[in-house]
C-alpha cells in the first residue's frame, strides 16, 4: 500500500494540526493530495492500466482476426462462433475474474484473460461485417482485373473493411479501459486500485476516487482520439470527398 491516508492522520505526520483544509473536509478534488501522490500512486497506476489495455486489445485483435477469417471462409462456423462470443460477453466481469483467480493466481494474466474475452464479441462481429460489406460489384471487377482469391482479399476486401475494423477497435479499447478498473476488486493493479482504495475508506476518500476516475476517462478519450487519427491515416481514399 502506498502513501498517506486521511484516516491514518496522527502525530507522526509532519505538519500535524496543519492538515490541508480540503483534505480535512474530504473535498472532491484536493490538488495538494494529487500533487503529492501523483508519483507514488496515480502515475504508476496509469502506466499499469495502459499496459493492460494495450496487451488485452492487441491479443484480442489477433484472436478475433483469426476467428473472423475462419468465420468468413467457412460460413457454417459463423453462427456458433458468434453465439460463443455473445455468451462470454454476457457473463459479468467480476465473476470471470473470481473464477480465474484460483487457476492463474494473483497475476496480470487473471485480469487479461477476461479482458481479451470481452474484446472478441465486438471485434469478431465488426471484422466479419466489414469484410461482408464489400459490394458484389467491387468483387466482380477485382475478378475481372485478374486478381486471385488471395490478392482480392489483401488488396480489396481487407482495405475496404478498415473503417469497420477500426470502429470496432475504438469501441473495444474504450470498454477495456473501463472494465479493467473492476479487476482491482481482486487484484491491486491499474487505475482501479486507487479507486477501490478510496471506496475502502470508512468515509469514501473523494479526491482519490475522482482523480483516478478522471484519469481513466481521460485515458479512454485519448486512446479513442489516437485510433481515430490512425483510422484517417489508414484510409486516405476516404478523405478525398
Amino acid at each position: 500500500m502506498t502513501g498517506f491516508r486521511v484516516a491514518g492522520g496522527g502525530p507522526v505526520i509532519p505538519n500535524f494540526g496543519h492538515v490541508n483544509a480540503c483534505l480535512k473536509h474530504n473535498g472532491w478534488f484536493c490538488t495538494a493530495w494529487v500533487h503529492e501522490h501523483w508519483g507514488d500512486t496515480l502515475q504508476p497506476a496509469l502506466i499499469q492500466h495502459i499496459k493492460l489495455t494495450v496487451i488485452a486489445v492487441g491479443i484480442g485483435f489477433v484472436i478475433a482476426f483469426l476467428l473472423a477469417l475462419v468465420g468468413f471462409r467457412w460460413r457454417f462456423l459463423h453462427a456458433p462462433i458468434g453465439a460463443l462470443s455473445d455468451f462470454l460477453y454476457a457473463l459479468p466481469s467480476i465473476a470471470l475474474f473470481e473464477l480465474l483467480l484460483p487457476v492463474t493466481g494473483i497475476t496480470t494474466t487473471t485480469i487479461l484473460i477476461p479482458l481479451i474475452a470481452y474484446t472478441l464479441f465486438v471485434l469478431y462481429r465488426n471484422i466479419v461485417a466489414g469484410l461482408d460489406g464489400v459490394s458484389a460489384e467491387v468483387l466482380e471487377s477485382a475478378r475481372g482485373m485478374g486478381l486471385t482469391r488471395r490478392q482480392t482479399f489483401f488488396k480489396v476486401e481487407l482495405p475496404l473493411a478498415v473503417p469497420a475494423i477500426m470502429g470496432g477497435l475504438r469501441v473495444v479499447t474504450v470498454s477495456t479501459i473501463s472494465i479493467a478498473t473492476v479487476a482491482a476488486f481482486l487484484i491491486h493493479y491499474g487505475l482501479g486500485a486507487p479507486i477501490f482504495d478510496a471506496l475502502g475508506q470508512p468515509d469514501i476518500f473523494r479526491t482519490e476516487l475522482v482523480a483516478a476516475s478522471a484519469l481513466a476517462v481521460l485515458l479512454a478519450l485519448a486512446a479513442d482520439g489516437l485510433l481515430a487519427v490512425l483510422q484517417r491515416a489508414l484510409t486516405p481514399w476516404n478523405r478525398v470527398r
Binding site: D86, F87, Y89, A90, L91, P92, S93, I94, A95, L96, E98, L99, P102, V103, V171, V174, S175, I177, S178, I179, T181, V182, F185, L191, G192, I195, F196, A198, L199, I204, R206, L209, V210, A212, S213, A216, V217, A220, L221, D224
Partner: protein, 217 residues
Amino acid sequence: MLASLFIDAFRFIPDNAHLLLQKTLELAELSFTALGIAIVIALPLGLWLGHKHRGLFAALGVSSFGRALPSIALIGFFIAWLGVGFWNIEIALVVIGLPPLLTNTYFAVEGVDPDVVEAARGMGLTESQILRKVELPLGLPLIIAGARIAAVFVIATSTVAGIVGGSGLGEIIADQATYGLAGVFAAALCVSAVALLATWLLGFAERAAYRRMAPSA
C-alpha cells in the same frame, strides 16, 4: 478443477433456487427500472434533437464520454455523494443507460431521408405528426438497437453495484467468502441468462420493427 466447478455450480442452482430467484428478481427490478427511466428521458430528447437536426456534437460527446466512464467510478461517485441506497445506485444505472439510447434515438431520427420528411411536410402533416408518423416508425429499429445496448450495459453494471452494497445477483458475485466459487458461478449464469433474454427479446422487437417498415424486403 473447472469440471468440478461446473458440477458444483449446477448443484448450487437447485439447492439455492429460492435465493437465486429472489436475487434475480432484485437484479431485474434494479436494471429494468433504470432502463425504463433512461428511455423516458432519452426518447423525447433524442427525438426532438434529431427532428431539429440540432446538437450533433452534443450527441457524439455524450456517447463517447458515457462509454469512457468506468461503471465502478460512476457508482462510487454517487455513493460518495449520496450514500448507499436503492435510488442512488438506480441513478448511476440510469446514467450508464442514457448514452446509447440518446445517441441511437438521435441518429435514428436524424438519419431519416430528408426527401421523405419533405414529402410528408408537402402532404400537410404538422411537425408533431411528421415526428410520430414518419420519423419515429422509420427510426424504430435503430432506437430499439440502442435499448438493447443500454440493457446489456445496465445489467452488467448492476452486478458491479454489488461490490459497494447494491442488491441483486451482484451481492452473491461480490461475496465469494459466503457463497463460494460455485455460488458465484451460478449467479453469473443467472446474470447472463437475464442479459441474453433481454438482448434476444429486444433483437426480436428490432427485426419486427424493421420488417414492418419494409414489408417487401
